[in-house]
Each structure stands twice: as structure tokens, then as C-alpha cells.
């Protein structure tokens, strides 16, 4: 049954053969040539009917119609390449943008964690008034673990840098210290070797390490015998006991290569008030987040009383782990998805009105076909087929566009940031995005098919024949098309306003006062723990040597060291109090930086009072501090802080620091966060193994970087240098700047496309209406209308549409901006300048779009117009 049907040609051939054979036979019976032919035909009966019956018998009529419609539709599309290419391109862009952004949303929001039952995994930490997530101290963790009933397991982790000894020298590597059942809590099993044994995480436990897949691949050549070998981390031998699976990634740990059990504690890590570890827990079945949170709060309260920890603020926080990982990008992704959705809407409306306009110009064709007996259903099929065909090609193009966009956007994310977003690996054309694309395609098809059907059902075919293309024709379309174009313009306004606000946010963000000059500043991370400088004096000597040698490089003005560069994060936090004032354990949390004497002048930070550090501030002199203005304002309002003292717990030792200087606020934390109070201590008094070098140059900072690295290696080959970058690169590479830049550019792109589509749509409507009204205009002009009044006539029509779109769009855009205010920085949702700018831009674009057809209308020759037809 399924073999190929016999062709009609073959059948016709057979009939022909029959007629010839019959004629031959008749001739043999004595008829003349002509007579025989005639008789053969006569005897056969109706040849055409036979053909027809064969033809009909062979096909199912419906399928036949579909094939016919398809052929006809393709012919229609090919006949109108301008229309077809525009429509397919517009659809492909709309669908492509949507699918691509959905790819990210799917990966980030729907499947963010590559672990077993990820929705039961919680981030379990302390919380304070200032910060909803505050790390745990180790003793608190042990008590939480012992007392809680909400979690099947509770674990902590804490990142730590190590120096790995390799044949080519010391290399700084990222390790993670984790409690014993960390991997079990996540539901991850080593793909090679074993997990930690229960005893290995007790204090004094063995030095064992589990490798990340990357470390195993790059440092052990993916050999099975890596298990049992040792690695040298910070000059201690660690035995490799396992290798994590390739797909394992734990976003908060970034690219940590070495996972060691938490069994070796520094002095202050044993303190109940040294908060250094982050907690994760797996909820028992049936326990809600609220229940767990209530229990943990009660435990935290109990411990606070039991150990007499003063200060009311500390409590517990329990939030889904996925929240920690994708919380930052969620509003951005949802905004982008919204933007892409609007773009698709505008694309559909645009193509829909194109289809409509074309079907309008095919009124006659439709009417004639109707008059010749095509049923309404048959005509509708035709339109549905054309809609499907357009949507099909558009979706196909859209999927290709989406693939390209996803790849492109994936590459735009810097490597450092991508490490914290393991879900990015899941972005691409897969079952989810494919399904989404199919649904989009279906919706678009329905829309495109429905548009002309809807119109068709409104109209009597008869009218089409009667009035042709003249006069009142197209009134319906004019109304419908006009409404559609208002929607388009409104959507374009929403996107433009969004892009404007995001762009302004980005500008504001990149122009927040930094308190220092980021230009011509080169930076690098240095780790000295591999060097011979063992005691404090040797370390200080090394500091001096580094600053001296680097400062002498050609073009370099000065160089300084800091424990942490500005504009990175409000981490390295110190809790201070003030001798002479009552202290109840308040969270006087400030940024703490250890800097060399030349560091603040190198940044060009402004000294407000007192002095900077000098080389005389060393380990043998009393502790001194420089504070920023925020600290002075917050803790010494109306006082002169110079000479006052601040106290803290430095390296586990209670210490007192005398304030010798006040600097204008240097932005230590992220760009979008208010500057915190900050304190600076002389690095010569605190001594850090791990610090950043900042080098001020008169020339391009980028070209200086290799020279600096080279010089450092000349000073001591064991110095490890990493992350060399200019200060501006550092700032641009921060998560805040990147996220804002991404959203601004993407929404900006959407908005530009939307503006073009909307204005083209407006042009289409006006141009069409001018076409339809040529006769009317001719009559008006024949009756004495001036060209200027024709201009006014057309432009007024366009102005109404533009103003309506603008008004609706502006109202909607304030609404959407309020929804997305999380992404805005330093600008209000109803920012007058942005909205005004959008109005002007759209107004100008609309004016151009309507001026062209208006000019055509005004140049109508009344005689020609009336004579036509």
C-alpha cells in the first residue's frame, strides 16, 4: 500500500496505447485509418473522465489540496521576495532572541544545581542586620550540627589559597576546606578513589585531598594512579584520595582544584566569634524552609545566651542554595526574557500586518476564487498554509539565530565569572530550548494563520468583486492595521525606555566617585609564602625591595601594596570597637585593608586630615591606622578622629590602633553599594603573605604589566604572581559592571530592533493608506486642496498613531521599569530625561516614516489619479 503510486502520466500512456491497439485492430477489420481512430475513441468513451477517475482514485483529496496550497503558497512567497524575506527575517530575529534568552533562563533558573534533589539543598548561615548572609564560626557550626533536627546533614566550606609546588616553581592555587560529609550532603561521589573517611575531618586528621576533575586532568594527566600520590600544598604533603566527577561544580567555590577536609584550625578559627565558614544543609523530607529557619533561629538564640555572646543582631538564615547561585542574575535574565518576548510580539505584529496588508491587496484574487466556487474553508486553508509556511521558515531561521546568539553571549561572559555560574555550561540548543522553540513556532503560526482568517470572516466575498480596490476599500484593514501599529509603537517605547534607563544606570555606575584615579594603574597579585623570607623582618625587607625595584622601572611614578584592591568586594571585614566607649559586641563592621606607605598616594586618594603611613610605622612602633571619611562620619561625628584609637582582634590578638589620618572615601566595595567605613593598617605592622601590587605609571598601564611580572620574578623566583591587570580592566570585569553592561547592551539591541520594526510598521500603514486614498486625494486636489493640506492630512493620521503608541508605551514603561528597578542604579523608573528622550526619538522617527508617504500623496497628479482605472 505504501509503495509509490502509479503516475498519471503512466496511466495516460496506457490509454494512448489502448487507442492505438484498438485502431490497429479496427484497420485490420477493414476500416480506414481515420475511421479506425475515430471509432477507437468513440468506443473507449470519455477519455478525460477515465483520467479523472484514475486521478481521484489515487489520492485523498485533502492531502491533494494541501500539496496544492503548499505549492501555491511557495509560489506566492517566491513571487514576493521582498515580503517573504522581510517577514522571515523579522520572525527569525524575534524567535531567535526569545529562544536564546530562554536558553539562559532555562539553564540558570530552572536547572541551576547539578546535584541530587537540588531543591532540598539550603544555604544555612548566620544572618545579621547589615547582611542577610553571614558566615558561621566553626564552634557554632558544630553546635548547629549537633542540635538541629531539620537537616539530614549540615556542612561547612571555606575557600583558601594554597601554594602548590610544581617542577616549574610555586603556583598559587585555589583550594576549598570542607567538613567531612560535604560531598554526601551535595549527593556527589568521587568518580575515582573515595570520599573522606569519617575520622579525617577531626582536628589533627591526616593531610588528604580530593582533586577536581580539572586538576586531575591538567596536573596528573588523567592517570588512574594519581590516587595515592602526594601533592605539596603550602609545603605540606597531601595524599590524593579521590577525583571528583567531570560534571561536578560548586559555584560558590569557583574553580577550586584541591578539596581538603577541615581538620586543621588556626588559633582564631577556634573562636566562637570568628566567622569564616559558609554552611550548606540538606533538609529532611517534609521539613519546610520556614520550619528549618525557625529551628535554626532558636538554636542561634540559645547558643548566644549560653556563651554570653552580646549584641542582639546575629540570627540564622536558611535560603535555597540555588538562590545564592543565581539570585544575582535572576532579575536580569527575567528582564531580558521580557525584552525578548516584547521583541517577538512586535515581530509578530509586524509580520501579521504585512500578511494582512498583502491579503488586502489580494482581495480581488480571493473574490474571484470565491466566485469560481472555492469554499470559504478552502480559502482559509490557503491562508493557513501560507501562515504556516512563513512561521516555519521563520522558526527555522530563529533556531539558527538562537544558536549563534547563545554561543556569542556565552563567550561574552568572562572566564572568572563563568566559573561561578556553572549553569552556563548547560546553555545551548537542547531538548528544553527545542521544545520552547517549537511552542513559539506554533504560536506564531497560529497568529499568522488567524490574522487573515479573522479578516476573511468579516467580509463578504461579493464586496471584494464589487468595489475592487477603490474608495472605502481597506477601511477595515486601516482600522485593524492602525491598531496593530499602535501596539508596535507602544512596545518599542517600552523597550526604548528600558534600554535608556539601563544605559543611564550603566553610565552612573561607571561614573560613581571612586575616590582614586583608576587610569594608568597596573595591578598584580603577589604571594610570598614560597620565598625564603621567614621572619617578619625579612618579609618587610622583601616589601621594600619590591616597591623600590618596581618604582624604578621606566615610566613608573610610584608603587604600593594592599591586602585587597579597591572596587572588588566588601570582604576582609573587621569588627572594631573604641577604647573608652561601652562595647556590647555591636557589629561595627568595617572594611580592613593592610597597605604599604606608598599605596594610598599611589592610588591618588585624597588625604583629608593627618598623615599617610611612613616607613617608620613598623613592627617596633605603636599600631597606627588611617580611616576613611565614612568611618569618621559614622563613629566620630562632629569630632576630630586624629589621635583617637580603635580596637580589634588582629590575628587573634587584641590590638589597639591610633588613628593618624583620614582619607576621602576610596570605593573598596562593589560599584553599586554605598561605600562602607574602612580602616587601613600599615602592612609593615601586620605583614601579609598574599597581597596586591598597585603601580602608577605615566604611560599605558597595560604595556607595563609584563615588565612588572618580570621584575618581581627577578627579585625572587619563588614569588608567585597572578591576575595581572590594569585597574580599569579590574573595574570593568567586576560582576556588577558586567551584569549592568550585559543588560544595557542586550535591551539596547532589542530596543533598536523594536524601534526599526515599529517605525517600518508605521511607514507601512501610512504608505498603504496613501495608496488606497490616491483617488480621494486626487478629488480633493481637483477641488482646490493645497499640497500643504494634503501633507497635513497624511501627517495628522500618522501623528495620531504615533502619539497614541507613545502615550500607551510611556505609561507601560513606567510600570515595567518599576518591576525591573532592581537593575536600575542611580536613576528612577520615571526618569524624565530618559522618557523625554524616548519621546523625541520616536517622534522624529515617526515623522520621517510618515513624511515619505505624505510627500508622495502631495505629489499626486489629480488628473492621473482620477483617470486611473
Amino acid at each position: 500500500m505504501f509503495k509509490r503510486k502509479r503516475s498519471t502520466d503512466d496511466f495516460a500512456e496506457e490509454i494512448k496505447a489502448h487507442l492505438e491497439l484498438e485502431a490497429d485492430e479496427l484497420k485490420r477489420e477493414g476500416l480506414s485509418e481515420d475511421e479506425a481512430r475515430r471509432k477507437a475513441r468513440l468506443e473507449f468513451g470519455n477519455v478525460r473522465a477515465a483520467h479523472e477517475r484514475f486521478y481521484l482514485k489515487n489520492r485523498v483529496a485533502g492531502l491533494d489540496h494541501l500539496a496544492q496550497d503548499m505549492k501555491f503558497a511557495i509560489r506566492q512567497l517566491v513571487k514576493n521576495p521582498g515580503f517573504s524575506i522581510t517577514a522571515i527575517l523579522v520572525l527569525a530575529l524575534g524567535i531567535g532572541a526569545c529562544v536564546a534568552i530562554f536558553g539562559f533562563v532555562d539553564a540558570a533558573l530552572l536547572e541551576p544545581l547539578p546535584f541530587a534533589n537540588p531543591d532540598r539543598l539550603m544555604s544555612v548561615n548566620e544572618s545579621s542586620v547589615e547582611s542577610p548572609r553571614w558566615p558561621l564560626s566553626y564552634p557554632d557550626y558544630l553546635d548547629w550540627q549537633r542540635l538541629n533536627k531539620s537537616f539530614t546533614s549540615l556542612d561547612v566550606y571555606g575557600g583558601r589559597g594554597y601554594l602548590l609546588r610544581t617542577p616549574s616553581g610555586a603556583e598559587p592555587v585555589h583550594g576549598e576546606r570542607v567538613s567531612g560529609s560535604f560531598f554526601q550532603t551535595l549527593g556527589v561521589h568521587p568518580m575515582l578513589g573515595r570520599d573522606f573517611y569519617p575520622g579525617e575531618n577531626r582536628p589533627g586528621g591526616p593531610n588528604v585531598v580530593i582533586l577536581s576533575y580539572g586538576a586531575w586532568l591538567n596536573r596528573f594527566g588523567a592517570r588512574d594512579d594519581a590516587i595515592g600520590q602526594t601533592v605539596d600544598l603550602d609545603k605540606e604533603a597531601y595524599t590524593v584520595i579521590g577525583v571528583l566527577p567531570r560534571e561536578f561544580s560548586f559555584a560558590p567555590s569557583g574553580d577550586a582544584e584541591f578539596w581538603v577536609p577541615l581538620n586543621n584550625f588556626s588559633f582564631h578559627e577556634k573562636s566562637r566569634t570568628f566567622y569564616n565558614f559558609w554552611g550548606i544543609g540538606r533538609l529532611h523530607d517534609g521539613v519546610t524552609i520556614q520550619t528549618a529557619l525557625a529551628e535554626m533561629k532558636a538554636i542561634a538564640e540559645q547558643l548566644k545566651r549560653q556563651y554570653g555572646i552580646t549584641g542582639p543582631e546575629l540570627s540564622a538564615s536558611v535560603v535555597p542554595l540555588s538562590e545564592i547561585i543565581v539570585g544575582d542574575v535572576r532579575p536580569i535574565l527575567l528582564t531580558l526574557l521580557g525584552g525578548a518576548g516584547l521583541l517577538l510580539l512586535i515581530a509578530c505584529v509586524n509580520v501579521g500586518s504585512l500578511v494582512l496588508a498583502r491579503s488586502e491587496s489580494r482581495r480581488r484574487e480571493i473574490a474571484v476564487r470565491g466566485a469560481l466556487g472555492a469554499t470559504r474553508a478552502r480559502l482559509m486553508y490557503q491562508f493557513v498554509t501560507e501562515g504556516l509556511l512563513l512561521a516555519g521558515f521563520g522558526s527555522l531561521g530563529g533556531v539558527m539565530v538562537a544558536g549563534v546568539i547563545m554561543k556569542f553571549l556565552g563567550h561574552l561572559v568572562p572566564k572568572d565569572m563563568a566559573l561561578n555560574m556553572p549553569f552556563l555550561g548547560g546553555v545551548g540548543l537542547n531538548a528544553h530550548t527545542g521544545t520552547f522553540a517549537a511552542v513559539m513556532a506554533l504560536m506564531v503560526s497560529l497568529l499568522l494563520a488567524a490574522t487573515p482568517i479573522w479578516q476573511l470572516s468579516f467580509r463578504e466575498l461579493r464586496d471584494g468583486l464589487a468595489d475592487g480596490d477603490r474608495g472605502a476599500a481597506g477601511r477595515l484593514w486601516r482600522r485593524l492595521g492602525a491598531n496593530l501599529v499602535v501596539v508596535e509603537l507602544a512596545v518599542a517605547v517600552v523597550l526604548l525606555a528600558g534600554a535608556g534607563l539601563l544605559g543611564k544606570s550603566l553610565y552612573r555606575l561607571l561614573h560613581v566617585p571612586l575616590g582614586f584615579d583608576p587610569n594608568h594603574l597596573a595591578t598584580a597579585q603577589v604571594n610570598t609564602s614560597g620565598t625564603v623570607s621567614k621572619n617578619d623582618e625579612q618579609t618587610v625587607v622583601l616589601y621594600r625591595e619590591i616597591v623600590r625595584r618596581v618604582s624604578r622601572l621606566p615610566g613608573v611614578e610610584s608603587a604600593g601594596m594592599t591586602s585587597m584592591l579597591p572596587v572588588q568586594c566588601n570582604c576582609a571585614i573587621d569588627r572594631i570597637h573604641f577604647p573608652g566607649r561601652p562595647y556590647h559586641g555591636q557589629h561595627n563592621d568595617v572594611d580592613e585593608r593592610h597597605v604599604s606607605a606608598e599605596y594610598l598616594p599611589t592610588l591618588k586618594a585624597r588625604l583629608l586630615r593627618g598623615r599617610f603611613f611612613t616607613e617608620a610605622d613598623n613592627s617596633s612602633s605603636p599600631g597606627v591606622a588611617v580611616i576613611n571619611q565614612a568611618l569618621a562620619k559614622k563613629y566620630f561625628p562632629g569630632e576630630d578622629p586624629i589621635g583617637r584609637r580603635i580596637a580589634n582582634d588582629e590575628g587573634g590578638n587584641p590590638s589597639i590602633w591610633e588613628i593618624v589620618g583620614v582619607v576621602d572615601d576610596v570605593r573598596e566595595g562593589p560599584l553599586d553599594v554605598e561605600t562602607w567605613p574602612a580602616e587601613y593598617f600599615p602592612i609593615n605592622q601586620t605583614r601579609e603573605h598574599y597581597f596586591s601590587l598597585a603601580v602608577r605609571t605615566g604611560q599605558d598601564a597595560g604595556t607595563l604589566l609584563p615588565v612588572v611580572v618580570n621584575t618581581l620574578h627577578q627579585i625572587d623566583a619563588e614569588l608567585s604572581v597572578s591576575d595581572e591587570a590594569t585597574m580599569n580592566e579590574k573595574i570593568d570585569g567586576t560582576q556588577t559592571a558586567l551584569l549592568h553592561r550585559f543588560s544595557a547592551w542586550l535591551v539596547g539591541g532589542f530596543a533598536a530592533l523594536a524601534l526599526i520594526l515599529g517605525v517600518v510598521g508605521l511607514y507601512g500603514v501610512i504608505a498603504y493608506s496613501v495608496n488606497q486614498r490616491t483617488r480621494e486625494i486626487g478629488v480633493r486636489m481637483a477641488l482646490g486642496a493645497q499640497r500643504s493640506s494634503v501633507y497635513r492630512l497624511i501627517m495628522r493620521q500618522a501623528a495620531w498613531l504615533a502619539v497614541a503608541g507613545l502615550a500607551i508605551g510611556l505609561v507601560c514603561s513606567v510600570g515595567t521599569s518599576v518591576l525591573t528597578r532592581k537593575l536600575l542604579f542611580g536613576v528612577q523608573a520615571w526618569d524624565g530625561m530618559t522618557l523625554g528622550g524616548v519621546a523625541v526619538l520616536l517622534g522624529l522617527a515617526s515623522a520621517v516614516a510618515s513624511f515619505l508617504p505624505a510627500r508622495r500623496a502631495a505629489s499626486v497628479n489629480p488628473v492621473e489619479a482620477l483617470r486611473a482605472e
Binding site: M1, E14, A17, L21, D24, F44, G45, A50, F54
Partner: protein
């Protein structure tokens, strides 16, 4: 479908039962492969010119039988060097011919019984 008419007069037309033409075609092809025109002629001749084959119906019937795989077709050359499509019986067709022939025999027998016994209509049930 399988409409047939006598050649001599429209009024003498005999309405034939469905499938009769199929049976005639199969029977004709028992003698050997034949093209459509030959089949038509043979049927006409062997029915002593009682039947006139409607050619349109004939070709549709041939097509139907081919699709049922009772006959197979291939293009060849006729005795007078004309290109023609030759039909021949398949094994399945032969089986069908036997079956249909006996069916036909039973049918005509029953018909005969009914028609000859006009006195007792109860024979119908036989």
C-alpha cells in the same frame, strides 16, 4: 463500479453484480499475459459480443487488481509492435480466481434455484 452494458441496445443492459468485471479480468488473464485492449476484446468476444466493456471502468479495475497484487503489470511490446502495458496473474490472483469462480458458481446456482422454483418461496432459505 464495474458497470457493463450490452453492445446491441441500451435497453438490453444487464446490471452486473459488484466484482464481476474483476472475475472476468482474472479469468481472461489465465490464458497468459495480456494488455488492457486485449482484455477488453477477449471479454467481448468470449461473451459472444453480449458484453461491452466500459474501457474507463476496465482500466480502473485493472489498477485496483494491481494494487491488490492479484495481477502484476509491466510495459512490453504487442504482437504488432506497439508499446503496451501487459498484465499477468500472480499466485495470489490465481487463488482468488479459484475462490471467486466457486463463489460465482454457488451464487448462480442459488439464483437459479430461486428463479426456477416459483411455487415455494421457502426454498430461498436453502
Amino acid at each position: 463500479m464495474g458497470r457493463m452494458a450490452t453492445q446491441k441496445s441500451v435497453d438490453d443492459r444487464i446490471a452486473l453484480l459488484q466484482g464481476t468485471l474483476d472475475l472476468l479480468i482474472l479469468k481472461t488473464l489465465v490464458l497468459g499475459p495480456c494488455h488492457g485492449q486485449g482484455v477488453a476484446r477477449l471479454i467481448q468476444r468470449r461473451s459472444e459480443e453480449v458484453f461491452f466493456v466500459d474501457h474507463g471502468s476496465l482500466y480502473l479495475a485493472l489498477q485496483r487488481l494491481e494494487e491488490k497484487k492479484w495481477i502484476s503489470a509491466k510495459w512490453g511490446v504487442s504482437e504488432n509492435n506497439r508499446k503496451a502495458r501487459f498484465y499477468s496473474l500472480t499466485a495470489k490472483g490465481r487463488e482468488q480466481l479459484v475462490e471467486k469462480t466457486s463463489e460465482w458458481a454457488r451464487l448462480t446456482k442459488a439464483m437459479g434455484l430461486i428463479l426456477s422454483n416459483q411455487v415455494d418461496p421457502s426454498v430461498e432459505e436453502a
